[in-house]
């Protein structure tokens, strides 16, 4: 509808990627301002970009089938990672505990410079997330990734080297957190996996999860409906179970980040803004300009006007409506009859 034009032009989706403006330059993770108030905010943190999946990605996942691991062991994303499942179980034990002590809550950082590049950093997982791709990439790959996939956005390798140094980012992405974590913001979430309730290990078949439970210490039960994520976007993917953020549950659609972004960043509704005369001639057409309509409603809110003319005293309105309907029918009929009589009289007169 045309009347929604103004509303649409101010829709919150327009500012979906504008949150970076709230960040600050620099990479100091200890700075109060460095913790991004938009994307990096806890409230937004669980919003994952599964809704952005394309078919290719999903079919790719289906073919992957976790061939990279045999389902044993509790994996842990320590620096240097692990590709070898057997070795991981022993090495991962203590590190996994450390990591769990560090609390796997969302610790997202996005400085203004990161916002320009469309990335954010999970300081606990120590990964960089490409928000446009909803995936994690190695720091050493990011410069090339931006220039080739997201051209004209670009950055220098030295920038990412600085990020690695500042945040201790991991280079090896073939790993798992070792626990059920809150979903990492910006990273795709996938359904249809079986996940270990204790260590977060995820696979697609009952045989694999059974094997995992039998071989792993402390792993006893698994879940069928939990969503999963993976650090590795292409080959050697290791999926781990995640829990969507509670905010996402409230909105009944954990896959769609836009409702959250709208709530957080959308300007106030037009319904709550007092009507004012347009500042620019381009904001009103000739008809509006020639009519002093706005003087009638100046300073009033749309919601108030709507309530006044459509919702005020609904009981009276209901009674009035019955009368109006009857009036319209009887008066219309009377005038119609009068018209016939007049027509007949006119015919006699002319004849």
């Amino acid at each position: 509808m045309n009347d929604q034009d103004l509303v649409d032009s101010n829709d919150g989706s327009d500012v979906a990627m504008g949150e970076g403006a709230g960040g600050v330059d620099g990479l100091d993770p200890n700075s109060d301002d460095a913790a991004m108030s938009g994307v990096g905010n806890d409230n937004d943190a669980a919003i994952s970009g599964v809704g952005n999946d394309n078919d290719a990605e999903m079919s790719d996942i289906g073919n992957d089938d976790d061939d990279d691991d045999d389902g044993s062991g509790t994996y842990f994303p320590g620096e240097g990672g692990l590709a070898d499942d057997d070795s991981s179980e022993e090495e991962g034990g203590s590190e996994s505990e450390d990591l769990q002590k560090a609390e796997w809550t969302e610790e997202m950082v996005q400085t203004a410079e990161m916002a320009k590049l469309g990335i954010c950093i999970n300081t606990v997982a120590k990964v960089i997330v490409c928000l446009a791709c909803s995936s994690v990439l190695r720091p050493s790959e990011f410069s090339q990734h931006l220039s080739s996939i997201h051209k004209p956005i670009s950055s220098t390798p030295s920038f990412f080297e600085q990020l690695v140094e500042t945040y201790g980012l991991r280079e090896n992405l073939s790993s798992r957190p070792g626990a059920i974590i809150t979903a990492i913001y910006g990273l795709n979430m996938f359904p249809g996996f079986l996940t270990c309730d204790d260590c977060g290990y995820a696979c697609r078949t009952v045989n694999r999860i059974t094997t995992h439970l039998s071989k792993s210490r402390g792993c006893e039960t698994f879940s069928e409906k939990r969503l999963v994520q993976t650090f590795q976007p292409t080959s050697d993917r290791m999926y781990f179970g995640v829990e969507p953020h509670p905010v996402a549950d409230e909105l009944n659609d954990p896959f769609d980040p836009f409702p959250h972004l709208k709530i957080k960043h959308a300007p106030p509704s037009f319904a709550d803004i007092p009507i004012t005369s347009p500042k620019s001639a381009r904001d009103a057409n000739n008809f509006l300009r020639s009519e002093p309509w706005l003087a009638l409603v100046d300073g009033k809110k749309g919601r108030d006007i709507y309530d006044l003319v459509r919702e005020r005293d609904p009981d009276l309105r209901q009674e009035v409506r019955i009368c109006v309907e009857r009036y319209a029918m009887t008066a219309g009929k009377a005038l119609e009859d009068a018209g016939h009589e007049a027509g007949a009289a006119m015919a006699d007169y002319v004849g």
Partner: protein, 140 residues
């Protein structure tokens, strides 16, 4: 008015118009200072409200006719006094969405047609009643 959908749409706007004007003349809507009402509007409005309590359809029809006639004969809808004209002000206000944006011109035209329908109906019926009362034929 034979078509049910048209009847529903027209009567909805008619009921909103009547209710709005009733609330104006009883000063229960005071937010629009520009809108003036005549003593005739106030009298017929009170009479219509009283007739609603009586539950007499004849009374209600007559009172509604008188009230609508008073609303539409409030004054000539000239350019200078447009916004003191209750029906016109209603038409403008009614064209605003809940968001405070103005509906497209097509909507305004539709509301205008519906509002003016009741104006014509009231005026024509008043003329017809006067003719009958004076027992004067159109074509004597």
């Amino acid at each position: 008015m034979q078509d049910k959908d048209s009847r529903t749409a027209y009567c909805k706007v008619g009921a909103d118009l009547t209710t709005f004007c009733l609330l104006i003349v009883t000063e229960r809507i005071t937010e629009f200072k520009q809108i003036q009402f005549t003593p005739e509007m106030a009298d017929t409005g009170q009479r219509f409200i009283a007739s609603l309590r009586k539950r007499s359809t004849d009374d209600q029809d007559e009172a509604l006719q008188a009230f609508l006639f008073a609303v539409f004969s409030q004054k000539r809808c000239g350019a200078a006094d447009k916004f003191s004209f209750a029906a016109y002000s209603f038409l403008v206000i009614y064209s605003f969405t809940i968001n405070g944006t103005l509906r497209a011109c097509g909507y305004f035209s539709q509301y205008f047609s519906k509002v003016i329908f009741f104006g014509r109906l009231a005026v024509l019926k008043a003329i017809l009643a006067q003719v009958e009362r004076e027992n004067a034929g159109f074509f004597e």
